[in-house]
Amino acid sequence: MVALVIALALFFDFTNGFHDTANAMATPIATGAIKPKTAVALAAVLNLVGAFLSTEVAKTVSGGIIREGSGGVQITPDIIFAGLMGAVLWNMITWLKGLPSSSSHALFGGLIGAAIAGIGFSSVNLEVLLQKVILPAVFAPVIAGAVAYICTRLAYALTARHDPETGSKLTQKRGGFRTGQIFTSSLVALAHGTNDAQKTMGIITLVLIAAGTQPTGTGPQLWVIAACALAIAVGTYAGGWRIIRTMGSGLTEVKPAQGFAAETSTASAILASSHLGFALSTTQVASGSVIGSGMGRKGTTVRWNMVGKIALGWLFTLPAAGIVGALTALLVKTGVVGVVIAAVVGTAAVLFMFFYSRKSDVGHHNAVEVEEAGQAVRFAKKKALARARAKANKPKDTQR
């Protein structure tokens, strides 16, 4: 059972990786700052490095929501197995739909569902749930979006060049931001590694402690860290091209300076939150930044119906992963046969979704068509400016 859970946890890490490549690399790919394949390779390497840098998050993320230890309930590998199953399946579904949804929420949802079904409603600590999951989910996109909005405004204001005599616009020469994007997106990938690989490490360590092979209160062992880092790097390299498409061109049109501002906000928000102990979801921060930067640049529109779809996806993440987790927990409760059934059904579902995804191939070659358009803007600057002015004259989008 322990081996099975570890395998599933590593697979979850893998889905987490390819689910979240988009957070770091969607905007630079969309502006043509980095070639798609290079981008995912870079993100993979930085995730690997990031996973080794810090193990602070591993200790805090999963703790507390389910009452564990003395006076509470004993978390068994069965519950963790069921929770992971819910998380993995929900990750696959959202990937298929191209929705950026939080892998950590899927994990929390799965674990909560499994705990309720396996132990009872009393096992869930509602206050901690509110504090650790629901409030951050509301504030992550708001904070990141507001900061990205301010940064985008600043970036454009500081680099706007007017002729002092005539007041007409000079060539803006913002090409430097494209280069800058390479660094900021790398920072996001690094932040992701320090943040998300930790969750799986925490889970595996929890299982090892529950199984009695590791003393209570110790940190993750080296082989666990290495395996998790590797799994998330491979997942990142596999690239969730569907989600990259959504983040890179589905939400709003991204220009280099705007992408730079968005990535800087994402990276600082993730690093600040994971360091100061108020864990925010990488995905929600990144989506918030992209939306905020879209509102900050004149002449862009944010596609609010896509935003709505994503928000709906976030709402469903906890309950949906929870239901799968609960069903799996009920199956596992029946004994060895149940575990086998759960494992087989889960694998079959994942394989089915994988083959179903083959029907409409989204890969590095066609994830974001904006790449060429982004390059073309260099030559069609005047047109773009005229368009931007025309749009700026229109009444502004009403903000939420």
Binding site: L53, S54, L135, G180, L271, L276
Partner: protein, 73 residues
């Protein structure tokens, strides 16, 4: 409820992101000015631009230094 922590995270995010973006924007702008044909002292503005890029890089490195636990031991 951890409102204070939330505020700290929001504030830290804002300060960090604005620092990096402002420095980088200045650098980009100075580079652009240095590239102008009629510019009198391109060397001065160019070196100023590099100073800004450098400061921006330092700001990022300092942030990483703060975050990686290995250094703060």
């Amino acid at each position: 409820m951890k409102w204070l922590e939330l505020l700290t995270v929001g504030g830290a995010t804002l300060v960090a992101a604005v620092t990096v973006v402002v420095l980088y924007s200045f650098a980009v702008r100075l580079t652009a000015i240095a590239g102008d044909a009629e510019q009198a002292s391109p060397r001065l503005t160019r070196s100023l631009a590099y100073v800004c890029f450098g400061l921006c890089g330092l700001a990022v490195l300092y942030g990483l230094y703060l975050i990686i636990p290995y250094f703060s031991k």
